[in-house]
Subunit: 193 residues, 2 copies
DNA sequence: CCAAAGCATTGATCCAGATCAATGCTTTTT
DNA sequence: AAAAAGCATTGATCTGGATCAATGCTTTGG
């Protein structure tokens, strides 16, 4: 299961076998069954999480008790409550498994140690964050300035794999729509072609 | 004007005077007058921009000709069309000055050279990106799952300085609202207290 | 210094998407 | 295999924010 991460890193930067060994020693492999939590709001966000198999989601619950899905993570994705992880405040997001899932857990100190020992890992992380920044920027523009239908079409184009594996009402939540609205949009689109 | 950047870096990491000298040699100081463009959609996004004085905004124009403000940048902020900058595709955002402004321009090769020569600058950038990621995450959650009034209040709390320096209809655009709506929200809030 | 442009405000309507409610699937659970 | 829970769909209605339109106040630039 380490191999998914190894390949992911090699796509961005080169590291030596020794460095790779160091990295593997810093993290904790873990299996999570469907519906189990990896992080709950209020907990300390001890880990950054790399998914090697399966699918996770992070979501917040607002004052009215509504869930808002903020991110999905399939194989090869990082996920975590970055804010809580960095500031050491209690988590404000929940993370749970939508399928039986395997992950690598990186404690904060482990990551810092890796950044110090393996400079190319710091570059890997910077490149990841840059890519992330760009993706989130686009999602934000879409969220602020497009119709429900456009949001749906954009998501279908950008994350066809997620659309296939995740229940429809969660897609709706991710897009900031109600399940009924998404259902009607799908119906309309189906009838149009 | 370099000093704004120097202080900004020192808040995150330590660098030697030699390293700092190297950094200053890689960038191009520039003054931009109010209303002038620094980047226009369709152009090559040659630079990452650090603001040392004044205020910039980036915005996109949608198919219907509507402007959508995506970011403001005051002193001490980085701004640019990161996506276009990284991929070398034509810019899809415009960046112009809301006040007379002074900036430092970093060409792509300059940044890469700095990342190679000054490892702590790569860390500085990673830390910045992480902070950015967190901030944008919050903005996204707010955009997707709160009312117009909540968006306004949140912005007032997070960026009081921007609220003071930027015309109201631009705040509306940044929040994804119409100027009329923002005006009514302000009226209502004023009457409530 | 005056005309013109830009901006905030207010009023009157409209509409995309939310809300409320009911029905018939599929999965889980036991 | 039955009961229960979860999910997608459809219909009827409501509403927050958009749209359209008009007015007066500031900038700004010639």
């Amino acid at each position: 299961m380490f191999d998914v991460l190894y390949q992911h890193i090699l796509k961005k930067v080169n590291i030596t076998p020794k460095e790779w060994e160091f990295i593997t020693q810093q993290c904790i492999p873990k299996k999570v069954r469907k519906k189990q939590y990896i992080l709950q709001a209020g907990d300390k966000a001890e880990f950054s999480i790399f998914v090697t198999k399966g699918c996770l989601r992070s979501y917040s619950v607002d004052a009215a008790g509504e869930e808002h899905i903020v991110q999905f993570a399939l194989e090869g994705w990082w996920i975590g409550d970055t804010s809580a992880f960095l500031t050491n405040e209690p988590a404000s997001f929940n993370i749970d498994a939508l399928e039986d899932t395997e992950v690598l857990l990186f404690p904060s100190e482990a990551l810092d140690a890796i950044f110090d020992q393996v400079p190319m890992f710091e570059r890997y992380m910077r490149l990841l964050l840059q890519g992330n920044y760009v993706a989130m920027h686009k999602r934000l523009v879409s969220a602020i300035s497009t119709t429900a239908e456009e949001k749906y079409l954009r998501m279908q184009k950008q994350y066809p794999d997620i659309m296939q594996r995740v229940p429809q009402h969660m897609i709706a939540s991710y897009l900031g729509l109600k399940p009924e609205t998404l259902s009607r949009i799908r119906k309309k689109l189906a009838s149009e072609k």
